[in-house]
C-alpha cells in the first residue's frame, strides 16, 4: 500500500514510470492489454490498406501508400517492443492475436471497397487515432508515451495525405466525387465508434485516468475529433451521413445517436471482415513457419555469431 501511494504520487507529479520501476499488477496488466492491442491494430491495419498498393492509380499515390503501410508495420514493431518492456514476449502477444483472445481496433473489420477508402482512412481513421494518440503521448508509462510521440508525428503526415486526397476527389470528376462521398458515408460512423464506448459504458476508464494512462475520456476525445473533422469535410462540399449533426451554441459539433449495437457486434467478432482479417494473419503466420524455422536453423549453425533479423 505504501508502494502504491508512492507510485500514485509519482504519477501525480507527472513523472514517467519506467520498465524497471515498481508498478501495480493491474497497471501492468492494463498497459499490456492496451499496448498489445494497439500493436495488433497497426499490424492488422496493414491489410485493408495494403491490398490497394497494387491498384493505386498513380506512381505518386502508390509510393505514398507503400510508405504508409510500411510505417504501420514500423509502429507495430515499436509497440511490440514497448509491451515487451512489461515482461510479455512478442510470441505470446502474437499467439493471443491469432487465437482471437486479443483485440485490435474495431475499425479494421470494415472492408476497403474503393480507392477513395484509402484517402478516407487516412483522413478519418488516422485522424481519430491521432486524437487518441496525442492523449496517450501524455501517458504515465515512459516507453508507451515515447512510442506515441514518434508514431503521432508519422500519423500526422498520413492524416494530411489522406485529407489532401479526399479533397482532390471532392473537387474532381463526378465519379471521383461520388466515390469520395461513398467512402465518407461508410467510414464516418465507424471512425466515431473506434474512439470507444461512451464514458458511462467504458469499464476501464476510471482506473486508467487515475493512473495517468489515459488523460481524457472517450467522449472528450471523440468530441475533439468531430469538432475538427466535421467542418472540414463539410467545407469540401461532401456531406456527412448524420442528419442530426449540428453545431451547438458552445461551438461543439453534436452527433446523432451512435449504433452501439453494431459496435459491440464488430468487437464481438461479427463485423464484416473479422474472420478474413484474422485468417489473413493466421495464413501469413502459418505460411511463414518454414521461413522462421530456416532462420533458426541457420542461426544455430552460425552461432556464436548472432544473426540480425
Amino acid at each position: 500500500a505504501l508502494r502504491l501511494a508512492e507510485f500514485e504520487a509519482r504519477i501525480a507529479r507527472g513523472e514517467k514510470i519506467e520498465p524497471g520501476d515498481w508498478m501495480p499488477e493491474e497497471y501492468r496488466r492494463q498497459l499490456v492489454r492496451m499496448i498489445s492491442q494497439h500493436a495488433h491494430s497497426e499490424v492488422v491495419g496493414m491489410l485493408p490498406e495494403g491490398a490497394w498498393i497494387t491498384r493505386a492509380p498513380s506512381l505518386k499515390r502508390k509510393m505514398i501508400l507503400i510508405a504508409k503501410v510500411q510505417d504501420e508495420a514500423g509502429h507495430g514493431q515499436y509497440l511490440y517492443h514497448a509491451a515487451e518492456t512489461l515482461g510479455i514476449s512478442r510470441e505470446e502477444m502474437l499467439e493471443a492475436l491469432l487465437s482471437g483472445r486479443a483485440k485490435y481496433s474495431s475499425i479494421f473489420n470494415y472492408p476497403t471497397l474503393t480507392w477513395a477508402d484509402i484517402g478516407t482512412i487516412g483522413w478519418l481513421v488516422d485522424g481519430a487515432a491521432i486524437k487518441n494518440q496525442t492523449m496517450l503521448a501524455q501517458c504515465s508509462y515512459g516507453p508507451y508515451s515515447r512510442a506515441m510521440v514518434r508514431i503521432c508525428a508519422e500519423e500526422t503526415f498520413h492524416h494530411k495525405q489522406g485529407k489532401e486526397m479526399v479533397i482532390a476527389y471532392a473537387k474532381g470528376t463526378p465519379k471521383q466525387r461520388q466515390m469520395a462521398q461513398d467512402a465518407i458515408n461508410r467510414w464516418w460512423w465507424p471512425a466515431l465508434m473506434m474512439l470507444g464506448p461512451h464514458d458511462a459504458d467504458s469499464p476501464n476508464s476510471e482506473v486508467l485516468i487515475r493512473w495517468g494512462v489515459k488523460t481524457k475520456s472517450n467522449d472528450t476525445v471523440r468530441q475533439e475529433f468531430i469538432n475538427e473533422h466535421a467542418p472540414e469535410i463539410l467545407a469540401t462540399g461532401l456531406s456527412l451521413p448524420d442528419p442530426e449533426l449540428h453545431q451547438d451554441p458552445q461551438g461543439n459539433w453534436r452527433h446523432g445517436p451512435i449504433n452501439w449495437e453494431e459496435f459491440w457486434s464488430v468487437v464481438g467478432g461479427n463485423g464484416p471482415m473479422n474472420k478474413e482479417r484474422l485468417e489473413a494473419r493466421r495464413r501469413a503466420h502459418t505460411e511463414g513457419a518454414w521461413v522462421r524455422e530456416a532462420l533458426e536453423a541457420y542461426a544455430a549453425k552460425k552461432s556464436p555469431i548472432p544473426m540480425a533479423v
Binding site: 496493414m46 495494403g50 497494387t54 506512381l59 471521383q176 541457420y298
Partner: protein, 252 residues
C-alpha cells in the same frame, strides 16, 4: 544525340522502368503477409525503392519525349510493356520472392556500376543514385539466399525449386533490345554480354556456397521483351483498374 540513338534510349529507359515497376508490384503483394514483421518492413522498403527507380527512368524518358510517366504506367497495354518475363512471374513463396530479387539485384548492381560511366549524364547520375540503394538490397537478399539455402532441408528444397523455375528467365535480363547496340556504341549504356559473365560468376559462386545445385539445364529462355507471360494481362488489369475506371479523370 542522333534520332536513332534517341529512339533507342527511349526504348531502353522504358524497359528499365518496366522491370522496376513490375518487380515492385510483385514485391508489394507481400505487404501485410510476410513471414516476420521485420521482413514486411524490409520488403516494403525494397518495393518502394524499385518504384522510385521506375519513376526515375520514366522521368528521364519524359525529358526526352515529354511522355507523362503515369500515362506510361497506367495506360499502356500488356503488349506495349517491355519488362523481362522473370519479373512478371507470380510472387510464389518467400524463397521465390527472395531469389528473384537477389538475381535481379545482382544484375542491377553490375549494370548500374557500369552505367555510372555513361556518356549521357542523366543516365550516369541516375545510376549513381540508384546504386546506393541497390547495394542495400543486394546485401539483404544475398543474406536471405544464404540463410534459406543453408537453413533447413525444406528451405533448401524450396530455394532450389525457385532457382529451377527462374534460371532460364533470368538469362533474359542480358538480352539486348533491338537497337541497343547503338547506345552501347555511343557509350550511353553498358554492353550486356560483358556484364553477364560477371553476373554468372557471382551468382554461381554465391548460390553454390549457399548449398544450391548448379549448373542447371537452360530451360525456357525468353528472347524478346515484346513477348510476355500469361500473367502480365491480369497483373495490369489489377494495377490499372482504378486509373482506368474513370475515363474523365486526369488527376489522381
Amino acid at each position: 544525340m542522333s534520332p536513332k540513338a534517341q529512339a533507342a534510349l527511349i526504348a531502353k529507359l522504358t524497359a528499365l522502368a518496366d522491370d522496376e515497376l513490375i518487380l515492385s508490384h510483385r514485391d508489394s503483394e507481400w505487404t501485410g503477409h510476410g513471414p516476420i514483421l521485420e521482413e514486411d518492413i524490409a520488403l516494403a522498403n525494397i518495393a518502394q525503392d524499385e518504384l522510385g527507380h521506375a519513376s526515375t527512368w520514366l522521368s528521364l524518358r519524359q525529358a526526352l519525349d515529354g511522355t507523362d510517366p503515369d500515362r506510361l504506367a497506367f495506360f499502356r497495354d500488356a503488349e506495349e510493356f517491355r519488362c523481362a518475363q522473370l519479373l512478371e512471374l507470380p510472387k510464389g513463396d518467400w524463397a521465390f520472392t527472395m531469389l528473384r530479387q537477389y538475381l535481379f539485384d545482382r544484375y542491377e548492381l553490375h549494370w548500374l556500376s557500369a552505367a555510372t560511366a555513361s556518356t549521357y549524364p542523366p543516365v550516369a547520375e541516375a545510376a549513381a543514385k540508384i546504386l546506393r540503394e541497390e547495394r542495400f538490397h543486394l546485401q539483404h537478399t544475398q543474406a536471405w539466399v544464404e540463410r534459406l539455402g543453408q537453413g533447413t532441408e525444406e528451405s533448401n528444397r524450396r530455394l532450389q525449386a525457385a532457382l529451377e523455375g527462374q534460371w532460364g528467365y533470368a538469362q533474359q535480363l542480358f538480352v539486348p533490345l533491338p537497337g541497343e547496340e547503338i547506345l552501347v556504341g555511343e557509350g550511353i549504356v553498358p554492353e550486356l554480354r560483358r556484364l553477364k559473365e560477371d553476373w554468372l560468376e557471382n551468382v554461381t559462386r554465391h548460390l553454390q556456397a549457399s548449398g544450391l545445385k548448379l549448373p542447371l539445364p537452360p530451360g525456357y529462355q525468353p528472347h524478346s521483351r515484346e513477348h510476355h507471360t500469361e500473367h502480365l494481362w491480369s497483373l495490369l488489369a489489377e494495377m490499372q483498374s482504378v486509373a482506368r475506371w474513370d475515363a474523365e479523370a486526369r488527376i489522381w
